[in-house]
Chain length 122, copies 2
DNA sequence: TCCGGTTGTTCTGTATACAGGATACCTTAT
DNA sequence: ATAAGGTATCCTGTATACAGAACAACCGGA
């Protein structure tokens, strides 16, 4: 019945009082860094611009500093790039999440390898 | 503005094709183990019995084996206890999640300690 | 002076999640 | 018999999340 083997999915979020940084913000920042536009970033994730904007605004408000720097108008209508703090935030989060997930794979073996999760006994 | 310091929250879920085991199921199982009743477990979590039942049913269907063993009727109306597989699943998940979270605390220090997340520069 | 393409912001309709009710069944004790 | 209390299941109203529309502001270039 199980086409894919049982495997762990580890989600990393950063909180203060409320949730302020998670996979969604990280994906957005990564795309803003690449595409220099919040609109393009949202489109690339099949996400409404308004939602992307709300997510980022909330993260910034909660963290207390700006993650992206935007300009409106001009040659191509404007755009957005990461602030220095946004860049550091993103790379720290990505490295952190990657290492945690690696650790997770190893620990999963440790705790779930000898369990009877192959014999489907219903 | 940030009353609580920035800190990581790490969520561990187990998937096959779909999500089948996460913090919710684990909390339910822990309470079933303690209270010998799914109804009491749900009440203890301020969760509707029907939702608890649905969550467990889904987890069992997805994993391919039963997590709890129920009896109906009798002296106290019936009850539920963990199957041997349910017990092993629960303790493996709890140990796994605990160790991942410990690891997460340490890695958070490593990646986020020297970052300028104290000076709120707006 | 208008056009183009982006940001900033709000609003609305909808889809999904969830709480809680309603009902049937089950078995021991009274 | 019947009461009691839990399991098993479905159904419904609501609340939250989200997609997408709508519109103003902005500014370099034609």
């Amino acid at each position: 019945m199980a086409e894919t083997k049982l495997h762990p999915v580890i989600t990393v979020r950063l909180y203060t009082d409320e949730k302020c940084f998670g996979p969604g913000v990280a994906m957005l920042l990564e795309r803003v860094d690449r595409l220099h536009s919040l609109r393009s970033a949202a489109m690339d994730m099949d996400m409404a611009y308004s939602k992307a904007w709300t997510i980022l605004r909330n993260a910034e408000k909660c963290l207390g500093f700006k993650l992206i720097s935007s300009t409106t108008g001009g040659r191509h209508g404007g755009g957005a790039v990461l602030t220095p703090e946004g860049e550091r935030m993103l790379s720290a989060y990505q490295a952190f999440a990657r290492e945690i997930r690696m650790e997770g794979e190893a620990l999963f073996q440790k705790y779930f390898s000898e369990l009877p999760f192959d014999g489907e006994q219903q």
